[in-house]
Subunit: 255 residues, 2 copies
């Protein structure tokens, strides 16, 4: 937790709790959780200790905590204390697997960011895309966050020239589904997912903002258009402290 | 690799290669692989070095290596050397998931061993089995090996009194499928699988014969009889260096 200035502490000690003060406290605690300084499952200091640390009245502190409870960052276990909530998302592998929709069903909204886009030889992506290794693909690297916390990074390959302009479409629309639709693929289905687990490399741990000791769930998959032609081959690295995968009869049954 | 006796070395140096000598060398190398002294992906010393170490003619050593290649323990990369084969099994999650059948499709045969069986309160197994937490279950701990190497351990809970005698049936028949059939469940389907990854505890690492740094793929699942009544709730820990999970359209389509 960051030290507070004397000014803001003095300001918070006025009779009526200053709305901006509890918001600033909530924001500081939220950042500590997002950045992992307060780890999932960690017990927060009690209200009296936190009020002293921030130099505010307990009533002000309670407002900040109630805000964090509403946002799902912390949970109160009665008689025990307040804890940083574990962020474990159920990610359903199904015929139509859509990251954004998946997280919406789990009651979460994801933000996606574009980390990079480049053209390259198909190489290792040739087999899943069923193209020549000497043909070209567009490589897209994206990162997904839920409640500010990174949950996964994805590297995707799209065959060229069919999907020239996809990076711009993704940047504009924010999802692969919308970007593919903008380029004439109204629907697609998942051909196969292969799931593995391993420890991350340093670069992967950095991208996921996790320690080197946090295992990854690796999902390699191919999506095909309704004619069965591969449109995307991809590898998603999920931080396994945040995501678990589900496979169920609803998904087996789905038409 | 274990030291060899002078007797056996002398025996191996006769003109005609003694069949027992190359078999003994193959057996020692096989044990080193199974026990992890020679790790997956490790490059073996070249033929000349190994022949010297075992005190045999290169022809004898080559017989041992050819045997290990045939058995799938090592592979020759031409111009590079001989390597311990990675053991990565594709384990398909589908409506009818059967460990033994799954591995047979991957060209492997699994051996199962019963680690333990005991009666207990349903507790945490109550929810997936849809029984009272105060009811009783039979807990079964089993371990699966492929090519001698442990690939997974499973803890299963079966509701009692329905499945009294299941431990004996498993010991007799060697598979859960056959044991359930012997107790009047001719067929069952998987209701749901939840897949997670984490590092093992010391006990789990010991059971899997893996280091504490080798992540696990954890699959929690429930199997139901054809009336939809849960017959087995289970948690399988796969060593992630040996197993990857697959989910595909064939499985989504399967009736």
């Amino acid at each position: 937790m960051n030290p507070i200035t004397e000014d803001s502490a003095a300001q918070a000690l006025t009779q009526a709790p200053a709305p901006r003060r509890w918001e600033a406290i909530a924001s500081e605690l939220r950042n500590d959780i997002v950045e992992g300084l307060l780890a999932p499952g960690a017990r927060l200091p009690n209200e009296t200790e936190l009020a002293q640390r921030f130099g505010v009245h307990r009533h002000t502190l309670r407002q900040a905590m109630q805000s964090l409870v509403r946002e799902g960052f912390v949970q109160v276990r009665h008689g025990s204390g307040t804890y940083v909530r574990e962020l474990v998302l159920d990610y359903a592998l199904r015929r139509r697997t859509r990251l954004t929709q998946n997280l919406a069903e789990a009651g979460e909204s994801a933000s996606r960011e574009l980390l990079g886009a480049e053209e390259a030889l198909a190489g290792e992506w040739a087999a899943p895309l069923r193209v020549s290794p000497r043909s070209r693909v567009l490589l897209l690297r994206t990162r997904a966050r839920v409640r500010g916390r990174v949950v996964g990074v994805t590297e995707s390959a799209f065959p060229l020239p069919r999907f020239a302009g996809l990076a711009e479409a993704f940047a504009q629309h924010g999802t692969v589904t919308a970007a593919l639709a903008a380029l004439g693929v109204p629907d697609y289905t998942r051909a196969r997912s292969v799931i593995a687990a391993r420890l991350p490399t340093q670069a992967e741990a950095d991208a996921l903002a996790r320690p080197l000791t946090q295992p990854l769930l690796v999902v390699n998959y191919t999506n095909c258009d309704l004619q069965g032609v591969p449109v995307q081959a991809a590898s998603t690295l999920f931080a396994a402290d945040a995501v678990q995968l589900t496979v169920g009869p609803d998904d087996w049954d789905a038409a």
